[in-house]
Symmetry: C2
Subunit: 342 residues, 2 copies
DNA sequence: GTCGATAATGTGAACGTGCACATTCGAAAC
DNA sequence: GTTTCGAATGTGCACGTTCACATTATCGAC
């Protein structure tokens, strides 16, 4: 407000800093990128000048000169899903801690064309790497066929590499859920699965199949859902007529909650006549009626790891070896001993 | 893979295009920014060259030269909230339709320092404008005091301007909710509010107070919650002892769902002894038991409008006049006539 | 045919940084 | 005191655009 005669409030550039510190602009650049051969005294002088002028590097210029943007792209198709959202928040935070920014791109539909277009767009923004949260198999096929020059990491799985273990995690989690039902005495367990193409859906189904066959039980052909509570509801109403199972493992909490609603409307009591377990442990899971048994995955940690991986790939260094994440079974009221049934 | 002798796979630049089209690089630039004075024939020649070379403008170079990034910053503190998430998706989509990209920044805590730092960071990325989804009053105080040179738009409200109407919307919605309860014969309605500092919390409370006083009823001192289902649960357990109200209007669905759980655990039957209505219409609201009456706000449209506003502000043009958005009352099973009580 | 005005195009210099390549400095070795 | 070599710093250009300012076509009016 107090107008002093400055006509050009143009922000300070690296050359202004250089002038003030009586060094060349290149020396300033070296200080900024902590080049080893800088005398401590010079470095201090430069840093002082930077502080005095409130200098901030121009990211566009840096990107132009170095063709690195310090930008990470997030390609997502599942926003709204609780897990995805938590992971995105974690990714964003982790990225910022490493000096990267995030550009998110939500896929409205996941046709190969749309995916290709989305990747092209991110590439156009010259992101240094991409994290994919659109865990559909076809997405990988498309991306794989694109011959990208920048690294791509997936939260769910990737061809080889330790990200694969993350997927393994979900298999484990699903196994936990089913084993919980079996431990309660159930032998006829139905799986309400996710859509065919989804990696997470496949992992969870694999866990279901593994657990069943490990217990020498025959699996029931799963129902394919679409992750939504609405689908769960309709499934519940339809399935109420069938009596070839006494427990359901739903591939996510939303479908489980809808399912319980459907059963309720159809006159099937949960858990008295039917046990239901979900997956994710969304915040409302503990507050619905009956409170929902489920499996908790640490999406936040998953997101963090994805970033670490991607940054390693960008730097060309070896990805760090992570220990496995252990999903946790949360037993609540929606599951009950089979013995108490009927 | 088929190695033809190209040693420099460097992407085509504007000068390459110019050469191929036998024009100057400036003419190409004019075509790209659709300058009026370009002969149609020339334009076609340039466009052909662009297609032939698969030329894509270098965004960093453009940003450097024009000091405009076509980047929008989203400053958010409420990720995970259903409404916020839907709005973000809509914002991202709308922004892309206008050729803008999105850089999201999630606030872990909303201390003035953190907010200032976040804005500084976005400014450092040279975003052309910021959309704020951290609807706390203090956020505006901080941002207002920063003297920013780029436009800032809020999804919730802003000092003057038509965004204010958006807030009005939420007042309307809250009024709808309370009027619904009053129409059912309730006279003693409690409000489970959001945190003090939140604009949305204030709007919804204002709607509550308006509706009560319009009906010549005295309001009960509201309870301050934190938006979470967990808080709702504890509130329900505590409030069960009180009998000076027969209905509760919760400031969001999550608290409402928790509240019903708390009442249930404390032996208060919803809706038989107590009516509960929420706000937001989250996807599970229709599947919990009892299904939750609530008010639906069109967050998607809200997000779209925020983008339109911001882009207008960036271009310096007048913001378009929007009609008011009308929140919709969704009556379900958690609310019931007072007459049927006791 | 000349003039002027506007349309259409061209020229050179920014923009702020990093890179490749000098150059200078300083101290140890002889 | 010269030589040598690495550490410390400087010089000029390139990155791919846009901007400000020429310059050249085009066309109607006289």
């Amino acid at each position: 407000m107090s107008g002093n005669g400055e006509t050009k409030p143009r922000p300070a550039s690296i050359r202004d800093v250089a002038r003030l510190a009586s060094v060349s602009h290149q020396t300033v650049s070296r200080v900024l990128n902590d080049h080893p051969s800088i005398r401590e005294e010079t470095r201090q002088r430069v840093l002082d000048a930077i502080r005095t002028l409130d200098y901030r590097p121009n990211l566009a210029a840096r990107a132009l000169a170095s063709s690195r943007t310090n930008l990470l792209g997030i390609l997502s198709a599942t926003v709204g899903e609780y897990g995805t959202t938590s992971a995105i928040v974690a990714i964003e935070q982790a990225a910022r801690e490493h000096g990267y920014s995030i550009s998110t791109l939500n896929l409205a539909d996941s046709t190969p064309e749309a995916i290709g277009e989305a990747v092209r767009l991110l590439q156009h923004e010259q992101v240094d790497g991409i994290i994919v949260l659109a865990p559909q198999l076809r997405v990988y096929n498309v991306i794989g066929g694109l011959g990208l020059s920048i690294p791509v990491v997936s939260l769910q799985t990737s061809a080889g590499g330790s990200a694969e273990r993350v997927a393994e995690d979900q298999v484990d989690g699903a196994r936990l859920a089913v084993e919980h039902l079996l431990a309660l005495g159930h032998t006829d367990v139905l799986h309400l699965a996710g859509p065919q193409d989804w990696i997470e859906a496949e992992s969870r189904m694999r866990g279901y199949l593994d657990a069943m066959s490990a217990a020498d039980l025959s699996a029931i052909p799963p129902i394919r859902g679409d992750w939504t509570a609405d689908f769960g509801y309709f499934a519940g109403r339809e399935l109420a007529a069938r009596r070839d199972f006494t427990a359901v493992f739903a591939a996510n909490d939303l479908m489980a909650i809808g399912l319980m609603h459907g059963f309720r409307d159809a006159g099937v009591a949960v858990p008295a006549e039917m046990s239901v377990i979900g997956f994710d442990d969304v915040p409302v899971a503990r507050h619905v009626w009956p409170t929902l048994s489920t499996v908790r995955i640490d999406f936040t940690e998953l997101g963090r790891r994805a970033v670490t991986h991607l940054l390693a790939a960008i730097d060309g260094s070896a990805p760090p070896a992570f220990g496995l994440l252990h999903p946790e079974l949360i037993a609540r009221d929606s599951t009950r001993r089979y013995a108490t049934h009927r």
